[in-house]
């Protein structure tokens, strides 16, 4: 299902629709950031590399022929961009040191302010903790359903088989799990 949607969006971008690319960015933003975070621990750097990944992908889209899935292709660009970044940083460590006053003038400044300040770091940790606690407090069947989905990446059909219940029940359990956690998240995010 996801691949068909990507194909359609890629076709639209290749037909000159820039807005369709925004949808692809929104769709894969978190996956790409998470992937890059395996290589680059600093979250603001990871976000910058993710941004660069999408820019490179847009520029390369005219050559994308759909021989592999869009995400596989994007995944490769992200890994190469992260590796190049690490290699460049290793060669020129001093060049990447940017004064915080200068950094705040960049358009990424709001993100740096939010996430890299002690308050931002504390809030990020608090969010992670709250989500873990909320997950632990879920009834067994909700926790199992969302864990199979998020940890193991199983499809709804496979989860239904594993939990011996209809797909509709899986759909509902995963949604209810997300909703229960979301209630706690909303309180923290304000």
């Amino acid at each position: 299902m996801g691949e068909q949607i990507d194909e359609e969006l890629v076709r639209r971008v290749q037909g000159g629709d820039k807005k369709a690319f925004d949808i692809l960015v929104r769709k894969y933003q978190y996956k790409i950031v998470q992937l890059i975070s395996r290589y680059i621990k600093d979250s603001s750097e990871a976000l910058d590399i993710a941004q660069e990944t999408f820019i490179k992908a847009y520029r390369a889209l005219p050559n994308f022929r759909g021989e592999s899935a869009f995400y596989t292709w994007l995944y490769r660009i992200a890994i190469n961009t992260a590796k190049n970044y690490i290699a460049t940083r290793a060669r020129h460590p001093a060049e990447n040191e940017i004064d915080i006053d200068v950094a705040e003038q960049f358009e990424t400044a709001p993100r740096l302010k939010d996430q890299e300040t002690p308050e931002g770091v504390a809030l990020t940790e608090e969010l992670a903790w709250a989500i873990q606690v909320a997950l632990a407090e879920l009834p067994d069947e909700l926790r199992t359903a969302i864990s199979l989905r998020e940890f193991d990446g199983m499809s709804y059909d496979d989860i239904a088989e594993a939990m011996n219940c209809p797909v509709g029940t899986v759909r509902s359990r995963i949604f209810r799990a997300r909703e229960a956690i979301d209630k706690k998240l909303k309180t923290l995010l304000g």
């Binding site: 925004d22 960015v25 929104r26 978190y30 976000l47 996430q115 990020t124 909703e179 998240l185 909303k186």
Partner: protein, 178 residues
């Protein structure tokens, strides 16, 4: 926000929404702040469960990428057929050509339907050589000139030592003696 929209967003995150609904919902997320915030929070939940670490929703991310691409030329690629279709068409054409070549090339050799034709003919020929009194000095089937050809061919092939060729005529002769 309506419960069913939230449920659709949950399905969208898991790639479980049909294509048409998914595209419609993505467009709604782009234009509606509340739907976008919901999408971001559900994604954060997934991120935290998978990685064990938190992340703040970066609501500006898509806009920043969009701004960086503002001056990029619009991508325009002429519509092309799917790679899969093209590959299938090439494979089918190739297979058909090979089959056609094989049929044409094997045409002269497909006439004798009896696989033992050659060996029978040779056996008959040898018998006629060793037994001149035979009431059937010639072959039971086929043209005698073909027998001559086959015997000559086998003998010659053996003598010139063509790789992979067995001394077929000799084996027949050996059997005939017994």
């Amino acid at each position: 926000m309506q419960e069913d929209v939230k449920q659709e967003i949950s399905l969208l995150i898991d790639d479980e929404l049909p294509k048409s609904s998914a595209l419609r919902l993505f467009e709604q997320i782009e234009s509606d702040e509340e739907s976008r915030a919901q999408w971001d929070r559900y994604n954060l939940i997934g991120h935290a469960i998978r990685s064990g670490s938190g992340i703040l929703p970066d609501v500006e991310f898509v806009r920043r990428v969009g701004r960086a691409l503002e001056n990029e030329p619009i991508v325009f690629v002429p519509a092309r057929r799917k790679a899969g279709f093209r590959r299938k068409a090439i494979s089918t054409a190739l297979a058909a050509s090979i089959a056609l070549i094989a049929i044409v090339a094997l045409q002269p050799w497909s006439a004798p339907t009896d696989r033992s034709f050659g060996s029978l003919a040779l056996a008959e020929y040898d018998r006629s050589q060793t037994n001149p009194e035979s009431s059937h000095p010639r072959t039971r089937q086929g043209d005698p000139s073909l027998n001559d050809y086959l015997v000559t061919h086998n003998e010659t092939t053996y003598l010139v030592g063509t790789p992979g060729m067995l001394p077929y005529a000799r084996v027949v002769t050996y059997n005939a003696k017994h």
